[in-house]
Amino acid sequence: MASGVKPRVKVPKTAAAGEAITIKTLISHRMESGQRKDDEGNIIPRSIINRFTCEFNGENVVDVVLEPAISTNPYLEFEALVPETGEFKFTWYDDDGSVYEETKEITVG
């Protein structure tokens, strides 16, 4: 697992039925592109988050492919319609095989 990786998410606790809410996500990650060289001239191996997904009660909301040009600590913001009370599940996939997960409850009332 790459060091210093920490996912974080901001989701409102409540929403009106059918309301579009704004979700903000950020994962601290070096996002080493694989294009840089170290002091000795050796290529620093690529190490990035390559995929991000968000699900709501098991249903897919977004599925994003991330590429090496994306800068350190990738920040993604998107809107989602919330039909009912439930749980958002966020997943980040690391090049090294690590998977980072975070969940957030939201109440519709």
């Binding site: 210093g4 920490k6 974080r8 901001k10 903000k24 950020l26 601290s28 800068s71 350190t72 600590n73 920040y75």
Partner: protein
Amino acid sequence: MMRLTGALLAVLLTAPMASADPVDDTLILNGETEMVTRTAAPDHVSDAMDEVLSGWHFRGTETRAMQEDDFDNPGMIFVEKAEDTWNAVEGSEDKSCASCHGASDQMAGVRPTYPKWNEEAGEVRTLEMQVNDCRKNRMGAEEWKYTGADMVNMTALLASVSRGLPMDVAIDGPAQSTWEQGKELYYTRFGQLELSCANCHEDNYGNMIRADHLSQGQINGFPVYRLKNTKLNAAHDRFKGCIRDTRAETFKPGSEEFIALELYVASRGNGLSVEGPAVRN
């Protein structure tokens, strides 16, 4: 031909300046805390300017917005790292910062008074020096590099718990001679370009220096997260960068000269809210 060039130059020099005034906006942190980003100049700089302005007013719309919400502010990632360090036991005395000081938010009110005179040591101390004094003498741990990542993250944590409080460094009493030394440095022209701090940040704030909008050079937002290097930057590193840009040999971060300069520059912003970690270009 010469006259024509002169006329063209005059147009080029004056045209972009008209639209370069600081932005009139209010910084409300997390939708809760209203920050003081412009206020009447403290007495000791009132002969030079009427109002002191945070660097926040000189940045673009998106950059200003990033600082308004802790989630959007990338500097807060480093503050969270420092929070882990705050609670981590280190050194021969088996102590963490929290062992003596309690939770990090107990340190609210500390940042605005630094650099300040330390009676026991008989010197003006920056926050960095105080942190290293704690590490060495109370924790029995290794001192941090003055502008290293551990140090700058920790000072960002200490700044973040004081956000919204006004900068309030003392310039009288035993600190006065250091302050005078800092003032001397502020008005001294350095380098091949023969520029003093004042030439840009007092005489020309609000104007463009090539593509960049000159601020007053206030340090109430330090350490700042800079978009250009995606990390936190200490005030002394910024001083070093500025002096380097005058094409001079610079002083070292943590040197006597920069401590004096930090005290003086901090005093020019007395009354502005602590903003660290602010977001800048």
